[in-house]
């Protein structure tokens, strides 16, 4: 680990130039130990007043420092946004959730093992050096939105739920702004090192949830073991039914792309239709049309299909009546 200076922010504007923000540190500390990230200055923001969960309009404002475990256990979240609670509890371990924060979780970096291994080329770590995952062990890599420069996934769970919930990210900086979650994480393109819309002089202050949408809210995460494992694929589903037809559908997918994936066309296809396996197959076809495997992760294409169908059967009540 390289030496660094450490500042503890007392106010939001108390921000030395170029300092890397640390909150729970569940990912950053690892990255610093491996010297994948080598900040010269750390800004600890945990003393800031950003740990409140409060009503805002018809929705909710989740402070950036609200811990994952507190958020998952909050009665309002459990009642009005159960998808978020379920996704949080599917992530990491109890110990990590006790430390991880809402804002930090959005900023967590990929679990691609080549990104963590400084012996290996990685365009995300060292732009222009190449991608060792292509042609390497890429079992848990992306199948959607990849580029020849990078096939890493965004590995979190919380943001997948937030994507389905149409959340926004509240950002403070020279020009305070809100960024829809859909635009917060970026696909790799030619610049996989640029992972989010957050600029170096900005800070996440909150995540904003719109009014509760109701419906069946399911988060289904498929992983290699029951405890503490990153998603092979995950499906966040919000399904509203009326007269045995799908009235509302929001679907987001984790473990398959550099951002929580969503396909408006597939959702439109479902709306107004009675649930059926054939319909779900069609939706899966649409979502997976651009999918591309890289050898080790080819299985994610059928796995995402199967997981989506299982989730939709469950969310529409088909599974119970089968």
């Amino acid at each position: 680990m390289k030496p660094f200076t450490y500042h503890r922010a007392q106010t939001l504007t108390d921000r030395p130039d170029g300092a890397t923000i640390i909150a729970g540190g569940t990912n950053l500390l690892d990255l610093m130990k491996h010297e994948v990230m080598t900040p010269e200055a750390l800004l600890d923001i945990t003393a800031l007043d950003l740990n409140r969960l409060e009503a805002q309009g018809e929705g909710l404002r989740i402070g950036a420092l609200v811990r994952n475990s507190d958020l998952a256990a909050d009665p309002v979240i459990r009642r009005d946004y159960p998808l978020l609670s379920r996704a949080l509890l599917a992530g990491a371990s109890g110990q990590l959730r006790n430390m991880a924060t809402t804002g930090g979780n959005l900023m967590q970096r990929t679990r691609c093992p080549y990104f963590y291994d400084r012996r290996m080329p990685c365009n995300k770590r060292e732009p222009g050096s190449g991608c060792a995952a292509i042609g390497g062990i890429n079992r848990n890599h992306a199948i959607l939105g990849t580029s020849p420069a990078c096939i890493a996934t965004y590995s979190g769970d919380m943001a997948v739920a937030l994507r389905a919930l149409d959340a926004e990210v509240e950002i403070d900086g020279p020009a305070p702004r809100r960024v829809p979650l859909s635009e917060f994480h970026r696909l790799p393109g030619d610049t996989p090192d640029v992972e989010t819309a957050l600029r170096p002089d900005e800070i996440i202050t909150a995540v904003l949830l719109p009014a509760p949408i109701g419906g069946q809210q399911l988060y289904r995460k498929v992983r290699d073991r029951a405890s503490y494992a990153f998603a092979l694929v995950s499906v966040a589903a919000i399904i509203g039914m009326e007269n045995n037809r799908i009235a509302h559908a929001a679907l987001a997918f984790g473990g398959v792309a550099a951002k929580p994936w969503r396909d408006a066309g597939a959702e439109a296809l479902l709306i107004g239709q009675p649930p059926s396996d054939a319909l779900f197959e069609q939706a899966a076809d649409l979502i997976l049309k651009p999918a591309k495997g890289y050898g080790g992760n080819d299985f994610k294409i059928p796995l995402l299909r199967r997981t989506l169908i299982a989730t939709l059967r469950d969310a529409t009540g088909m599974e119970a009546t089968a």
Partner: protein, 724 residues
């Protein structure tokens, strides 16, 4: 006085059955447990000698070739690139240091230097800043892409297996692959070396002190008597600490050069790279049987790998020759010389992967022949060891299968894919458990103090298994003392050399040497009491002869010392020694996602005398959990281009965690093996893993109809086989 025993003949009557204390076998909690849970048991890296410096190992970033230059490390006290640094860890029980010479790189991640600084962080930063230059060499890293060695003494054939396959009513011919595994001990490898003149003391995580001392002395070019090893508490070994590793050698060299004590602790990633891996295996099994399930042919062909010149090769087929009988048999053992990290002993080398795969094959044959898998096993158990006709020292496989079937509710098992509960297919599986048994030469000293307290001293280790406790129980039983009147001192090479912990031989070997030392003291007590030893009863600190009873401490005028010395003898050859058992698993397989959840497991085991019901059970729980990991989650992935280990932390290398492990039930069969010394106890540490994974894999097939022959059975492999 030394009481010596060479086990040349059976001992039908165990003297331990005639002791009065009644503590042996009881579920005594670990004697050192309170120290461990309150942080007072100091592990290797926790000592803090004055002036301690911190060393960080530098690893090669090429798969093979030559180190041309190491470069400088500003901020470090020293960058040590000493020719004595070892290229890989020593194999267990080796008596020489492993190949030295860090300039020659043989695998990615090899330790090539150590950087020392005043703090760990400074050493780490300096190590990462080195600009190392290499002359890289192209080398093979894929075991299936090279022509393997086939050492003649590792091949065997009886009869004509090809013919048996042609003539059989039913046959099975399939290939399985198991990946490399790591031991994943909780405590990473760590050493603190401290010189005093020409005397060196090394605290480190070791399983076997006596041979590790010889290895380290040889590696450093000093005499063994200049070297003292201390390993009183070891946070798990599982084979990975059988021999010395780069941490000890580097710490010793650095401490000598800098004149201050030096600590070297491996990072978790370094443990993955530098501790021995279990070789990946390719196993072809051929089985032939008659219409009623009698095996006529058994073929087991194994391909494993290791670095060029390393003698260890995963003994995959170790138990195959004697587990089941068949007239026509063939064993093939091939070794691919490739440049992945060094392979060695990990969690029951041989049977862990060999018996597991073989037991999967038996399940497939049972299905083909339409015979219950339990029946197929029962009807092929040999009366004597096939090939040699040696008797078995004891044989409990049939009883373990019958007892297990009844306890597990095997009769409720349904045909394949017939039980669907919600989204989950439910199935049951069975496998036999088998592991070879052996004793290793062991010595111990017991001192009975004048106050009637006893001290046990031996360089035996307790790697989390319960050695302290069982040795204390053996001494307490033999000397008639409460367990808390016995102090057990382990893990110091100044003590008499014992077997160490490995190969399941520690408890019986070291335990027998402690018994012998105590038996010697019993003779001395009998002499003091003026009675025949046969008339002596020792219980609760009382000496009873006939109907006269008096306190032990009243009888003692000075301390008594007894030395025990066990040597394995002719019973190693006159009989086939093994431990036996059966594994049972019930699993749920998700019909959509292919996720497997184990719902319950049962292990039925026979290991001779159980020395401590609690620690023995814990050993089996651990083994069964390893089996679960092997079946479902554990895989060391090697990069196809340079062989480096890609899954090299515990977030990527998945050992089963709490949520993965269901209720596990362990049942011990009552057994007494007369060929293994006066304790009648055999090894148990590894039996729990041998075959456990097969019960799960067989249950997966029973649940959903999918045979996974490429371990582990992760969701991708299940959905590839699901029919809908």
């Amino acid at each position: 006085m030394t009481r010596h025993l060479k086990v040349d003949a059976p001992i039908p009557d165990s003297p331990l059955d005639h002791m009065a204390q009644g503590v042996l076998g009881k579920p005594v909690s670990r004697l050192e447990g309170p120290l461990k849970v309150t942080g007072r048991a100091t592990y290797a890296a926790e000592a803090r000698p004055d002036g301690l410096l911190y060393g960080v190992l530098v690893q090669a970033a090429i798969p093979a070739g030559k180190v041309l230059s190491i470069g400088d490390a500003p901020g470090a006290l020293a960058v040590i690139h000493d020719p004595r640094l070892i290229r890989y860890a020593a194999q267990g029980m080796a008596t020489e240091g492993p190949t030295a010479g860090p300039d020659q790189v043989e695998y990615m991640g090899q330790a090539i230097a150590v950087v020392v600084a005043e703090t760990f962080e400074a050493a780490q930063a300096a190590a990462q800043a080195l600009q190392i230059t290499y002359e890289a060499k192209d080398v093979p890293v894929d075991p299936e892409a090279v022509e393997p060695e086939r050492p003649e003494k590792k091949q065997s054939a009886t009869g004509d297996l090809d013919r048996a396959m042609q003539d059989a009513a039913h046959t099975l011919d399939q290939i399985w692959h198991t990946p490399s595994h790591t031991a994943a001990a909780m405590e990473p490898h760590a050493a603190i070396a401290e010189w005093s003149g020409d005397q060196l003391t090394v605290r480190a995580g070791y399983q076997m002190l006596a041979t590790s001392r010889e290895q380290l002395a040889d590696a450093l070019g000093i005499r063994p008597d200049q070297l003292r090893l201390l390993a009183p508490y070891v946070g798990g070994g599982f084979g990975s600490k059988l021999g010395i590793n780069a941490d000890s050698v580097a710490a010793a060299i650095a401490a000598h050069q800098l004149g201050r004590p030096v600590q070297v602790v491996m990072t978790r990633q370094q443990v993955f790279d530098l501790a021995h891996r279990r070789s990946e295996t390719r196993q072809r099994i051929r089985l032939a049987c008659t219409a009623d399930g009698k095996l006529t042919g058994i073929g087991h062909e194994a391909l494993v790998s290791n670095l060029p010149g390393v003698s260890f090769s995963e003994p995959v087929t170790q138990a195959t020759p004697f587990t089941y009988q068949a007239a026509h048999r063939q064993i093939v053992h091939a070794i691919a010389r490739i440049h992945r990290s060094c392979a060695g002993s990990v969690r029951a080398p041989g049977e862990a992967v060999g018996a597991t795969v073989f037991e999967c094959a038996m399940d497939e044959l049972a299905e083909t022949a339409d015979i219950d898998p339990v029946e197929l096993r029962l009807c092929n158990i040999p009366d004597t060891e096939p090939g040699t006709n040696r008797p078995f020292s004891s044989h409990k496989l049939a009883e373990a299968l019958r007892e297990g079937a009844s306890r597990f509710g095997w009769s409720d098992r349904r045909p394949t894919r017939q039980r669907l509960e919600g989204e989950w297919y439910i199935g049951m599986g069975v496998a036999s458990a088998v592991r070879v048994n052996s004793l290793i030469e062991s010595r111990a000293r017991v001192i009975l103090q004048a106050d009637g307290r006893a001290i046990v001293e031996t360089d035996m280790t307790d790697i989390g298994t319960g050695s302290y406790t069982i040795l204390g129980q053996i001494a307490a039983e033999t000397l008639g003392l409460a367990v808390d009147r016995v102090e057990v001192r382990l893990g110091d090479s100044d003590f008499p050399p014992a077997s160490g912990s490995g190969g399941s031989f520690g408890a019986a070997s070291s335990g027998t040497s402690v018994y012998l030392a105590c038996a010697e003291i019993r003779s001395q007590i009998a002499a003091l009491a003026g009675c025949d030893e046969a008339d002596l009863t020792l219980q609760n600190g009382q000496v009873r002869t006939g109907n006269v009873s008096r306190p032990l401490d009243a009888l003692l005028t000075a301390e008594l010392t007894g030395d025990g010395h066990l040597e394995p003898g002719k019973t190693e050859d006159t009989v086939r020694q093994a431990t036996w058992g059966s594994h049972w698993a019930e699993v749920a397989v998700n019909r959509w996602t292919g996720e497997v959840r184990v719902r319950r497991m049962l292990g039925v085991f026979a290991c001779g005398r159980v020395l401590n019901e609690k620690t023995a059970r814990s050993q089996c729980l651990g083994g069964m959990t390893f089996g679960l990991g092997m079946a479902l989650t554990e895989a060391m992935e090697h990069d196809p281009r340079d062989g480096h280990i890609v899954t090299r932390d515990l977030a990527e290398y998945h050992i089963p965690c709490h949520a993965d492990v269901p209720p596990l039930e362990v049942h011990f069969l009552s057994e007494s093996d007369t060929y293994v010394g006066p304790l009648h106890a055999k090894g148990l540490g590894e039996l729990g893993i041998c075959g456990a994974g097969a019960a799960i894999l067989n249950a997966i097939h029973n649940a959903c109809g999918v045979r996974v022959r490429e371990l582990p059975a992760t969701p991708d492999k299940i959905i590839a086989g699901l029919q809908d």
